[in-house]
């Protein structure tokens, strides 16, 4: 028995020393937390940055814009990620926003739907229930089934704000991920939904809005109307750690722009 205890004790000490040395090895950590819409962009940036700087570890916690902003405010992460502009109240509480990129929100319908172009008003009507059958706007005779994201989602608040249907949408389904929305739209002939342009839209049809196709170029030029910013939220009064500041600068540099583009968003810088 005594032997067993001795072995256990040695093992514990060994583990503790390994963990302690791991933490003290001098690898700096940059923690990011927030929007799931920004996952593809931030992970691509982090991957390239960590390949270039092996002594830095960039972490990403996919919690959602609201949680990411709170985490940045409470100092639980270095950089908060938000897929909407910060509210005035959030800025007043001590956060600064830096726009990293723009994301277009594609309006998607079932692949079998003949409607190819929608105006903002029509989109508002389709989601608010004012237009209840596709035949009213020259489409097939099928009931409109609006499919959206859950309350609090950055894509949803972005979409509703731009289209002007805040709190007025009569959703038939509220799903918790972009992928689920795309799947649901692909299965229902009368469905209409919205999804980030960066996502894979092969199984559905993205309509043009006011005659403009949602592409990176039209989002960047501002021609495509339904778009939103990808934002870095940082504390106004507390400077970032050296490692975090370097990563922050890297993301906004011209060097990072092709990576952001490859991830499906439109870089600002």
């Amino acid at each position: 028995m005594k032997k067993a205890f001795a072995v256990l004790l040695v093992a514990l000490i060994a583990m503790a020393s390994v963990m302690a040395s791991g933490a003290g090895e001098g690898t700096a950590t940059v923690s990011t937390d927030g929007s799931t819409s920004m996952e593809k962009v931030i992970l691509s940036l982090a991957e390239q940055y960590m390949a270039d700087n092996p002594d830095v570890n960039v972490t990403y916690n996919p919690t959602g814009s609201g949680t990411g902003i709170t985490a940045a405010l409470e100092g639980r992460c270095d950089i908060g990620l938000s897929s909407r502009a910060l509210k005035d109240s959030e800025k007043e509480s001590g956060l600064t926003e830096t726009v990293l990129a723009y994301d277009g929100i594609a309006i998607i319908v079932n692949a079998g739907n003949t409607v190819a172009d929608l105006s903002i008003d029509q989109i508002a009507g389709l989601f608010s229930g004012a237009i209840s059958n596709w035949s009213e706007i020259g489409g097939p005779d099928a009931p409109v089934v609006p499919i959206g994201r859950e309350a609090g989602s950055g894509t949803r608040s972005g979409f509703e704000e731009i289209v002007g249907v805040e709190d007025a949408c009569k959703y038939s389904q509220e799903l918790t991920s972009t992928g689920a929305v795309i799947t649901a739209v692909s299965q229902n002939p009368g469905a209409i939904g919205y999804a980030s342009l960066a996502s894979n839209l092969d199984s559905v049809k993205a309509v043009t809005v006011n005659g403009v196709t949602a592409t990176e170029d039209t989002v960047k030029s501002g021609e495509y109307a339904i778009q939103r910013p990808f934002v870095f939220a940082t504390l106004t009064d507390t400077p970032l750690s050296d490692a975090a500041q370097k990563f922050f600068d890297y993301c906004l540099s011209a060097e990072a722009a092709p990576i952001i583009t490859a991830a499906g968003a439109v870089a600002t810088h």
Partner: protein
């Protein structure tokens, strides 16, 4: 010095085996306290984080309000739609699932040939082991479009789809628990009935089933517990819109209300989600209490 003094006072120095015994006791006590401690921590945490929002919104408005609009400019937090949906959804699943599970258990316990029983029990075991997200995925890709076409409704994601998924999910626990209750009925009871001239089926339903009654009730309550706590699968098929429940509308359960808004919530919205968790917790406590009462009843027989 201090330690050796302590050892001497307890008499451990002269009796090292006793020290060992007491140490082991302590270790087991700590391990036991992990489970008890988790329950206590969760309960206290839920009450602390769930109560403020209920007080702020007002208990009547919270529990009986019919509109949930947590991120609206003038937010409303009425969870009656969620409570009713959870009750209807669970009730529906019990209504369909219990007869199927019960008759299946009677068949397996008394009528089925041994080989067939083995195969079917294996299948039920697999059904119990399927992760809920898989139920949801299958429901989303097959059941939801199926309901849309079959009943000619605009969208198949509805209470109906959730009830069907829940029914399948509670079947294994209903069948397994009923089955062991029926198996525990002594052969002599049945033999006495058969000797009196009753047919096999009469014997099963007049003698075996009444003797296994409390075990079957336990199965039903377990099924309720499983159905009311399920989130992942129904989140994928129920549509998740906070409507008052009806069979073909998109609905949100207590569980899915928490799960679907948690990741992006903030402020009072987040607190209200904890309050929903508290309500759900109370529901499950009540179900557990009923289950315990039934188990005690079981032991008396």
């Amino acid at each position: 010095m201090g330690i050796s003094g302590f050892l001497a006072t307890k008499g451990y120095a002269s009796n090292p085996r006793r020290l060992m015994e007491d140490l082991i006791h302590l270790v087991f006590l700590i391990l036991g306290l992990v489970a008890v401690g988790s329950v206590l921590v969760i309960t206290i945490y839920l009450i602390i984080s769930g109560l403020p929002a209920i007080v702020e919104i007002g208990p009547i408005e919270f529990l009986f309000g019919t509109r949930w609009a947590s991120t609206a400019k003038e937010p409303e937090f009425g969870i009656l739609p969620f409570i009713l949906t959870s009750i209807y959804g669970t009730g529906g699943a019990i209504l369909i699932g219990v007869p199927i599970g019960f008759f299946c258990a009677v068949y397996l316990a008394r009528i089925a040939p041994k080989k067939l029983r083995e195969v079917m029990e294996l299948c039920i075991g697999v059904l119990a082991g399927i992760p809920s997200v898989v139920y949801g995925l299958v429901g989303m890709t097959i059941l939801v479009p199926g309901i849309r076409m079959l009943f000619n409704v605009p969208d198949g994601a509805s209470l109906m789809a959730a009830i069907i998924v829940l029914t399948v999910m509670i079947l294994p626990s209903v069948i397994n628990v009923s089955l062991s209750a029926l198996d525990a009925v002594p052969r002599e009871y049945e033999e006495a009935s058969l000797a009196l001239g009753a047919t096999d089926i009469e014997t099963y339903f007049r003698v075996t089933v009444p003797a296994a009654k409390s075990g079957i009730f336990t199965a039903i309550v377990l099924g309720i517990g499983r159905a009311i706590g399920e989130a992942m699968a129904i989140m994928m098929v129920a549509g998740n819109v906070a409507n008052m429940p009806s069979l073909f509308t998109s609905v949100r359960f207590l569980t899915t209300a928490i799960a679907s808004e948690m990741s992006y919530s903030s402020g009072l919205q987040r607190e209200a989600l904890f309050s929903i968790a508290l309500v759900l917790f109370l529901f499950i406590m009540i179900i557990n209490a009923i289950l315990n009462m039934l188990k005690k009843g079981n032991q008396k027989i």
